[in-house]
Symmetry: C2
């Protein structure tokens, strides 16, 4: 049995479990998103700002994926939101079965929005469906404006792009216009937000969209 | 045959080819380094500053690894240095056979230093030996100071840490001391440099070390 055959079988098995996760989310009216980015692009910081804004307005839960440590889940728990940490112990992406197991620890009944923060990796998570309604890719301005061209699969497979750390633009050679147009060249249907978790700029618009998308999911 | 068995066989095959690459580097007196980091930490920018400094002083060659595009090799070629681009077409790391094939396009005779820039990924490249003398990991201050704890394998398997983008520290919540001590907690034998490719700070010390390490390799 070749490596390619094994890989296909692993992906097929993953897709089966992802479909069951998706069915579970639908049956509970949960809008589930898969948040992906490079390490340090600001996924957990965006989550923190999002929880500050949405706490009391939209019942939500978080699944944190990391190669090692439960630092992120501990950051999230401070906001009084159910948070489950998946530690992959070297694994470079989340898989649907890990998410399924994590769901056992979340009381799904009241949840409207589930944010799954994937392992920081701009390559591997693009291939793995977790059962989410959509992938949301974060790109930090500090990574430069060429990343959508160099890591196209992640931008092609995402529905939303959040350009984060826009407060740092004055100190960088990154062009926001180029980053945006490179991303739209790879995926013209991307919805784009621009945020700074430091100054709070753009967080209102992002959160309003999350609320509206979560309510769409229940129709 | 299980997935684990297949993975072990893939790694064994890779290690065999890596050993032959290593032998080839030794026989030519070439100091070969495997430069790894998250996407956008500044590997190519560090290479550019390094080439500016070492051009005419140390004969070197570059192998560029990217998921897609030859943007990086084109940046490097401007410096009149032999540069070969490996495009992995979705692959999340370089492997020893890709490096072996790329070496066919480099006249090894005169080369003293070979810098292999891996795919931007803080997880997968840590498992794959390319035949290098050592891995050098870049960490950007913009990624935050917790990354060594969250992605320990890369810091454990590297011999040198370059903390890049130190010019941005005044605008970040990243602590240089914490980043450094987290890295040394994972790997106490790491040699640490601090650089800014923007201001040039720290580039002299980094380049002096490269020259000295390359000359050690020929003893």
């Amino acid at each position: 049995m070749s490596v390619v055959t094994i890989e296909r079988k692993v992906l097929e098995k993953n897709d089966e479990i992802a479909s069951r996760n998706r069915e579970l989310f639908r049956s509970h009216g949960i809008f589930a998103v898969n948040l992906v980015s490079s390490p340090g692009a600001g996924k957990t910081s965006l989550l923190e700002r999002t929880l500050e804004h949405l706490r009391g307005k939209l019942p939500l839960a978080v699944i944190e994926g990391d190669v090692q440590t439960d630092l992120d889940a501990r950051r999230i728990e401070r906001y009084g939101v159910p948070a489950v940490q998946i530690v992959t112990r070297g694994g470079c992406h989340l898989e649907a079965n890990l998410v399924r197991d994590a769901l056992d620890a979340i009381p799904l009944g009241g949840v409207r929005l589930l944010i799954i923060e994937n392992v920081g990796n701009l390559v591997c998570p693009s291939n793995y469906d977790l059962g989410e309604a959509m992938k949301i890719v974060l790109a930090s301005t500090t990574e430069g404006d060429d990343k959508p061209l160099k890591y196209p699969a992640m931008f092609r497979n995402s529905s939303v792009l959040v350009i984060n750390k826009i407060d740092l633009l004055p100190y960088l050679s990154c062009s926001l216009d180029t980053l945006r147009s490179n991303a739209l060249q790879i995926n013209p249907s991307l919805k784009v937000f621009q945020t700074s978790c430091r100054t709070g700029e753009g967080i209102d618009a992002w959160c309003e969209w999350l609320v509206s998308a979560s309510s769409e999911e229940r129709k």
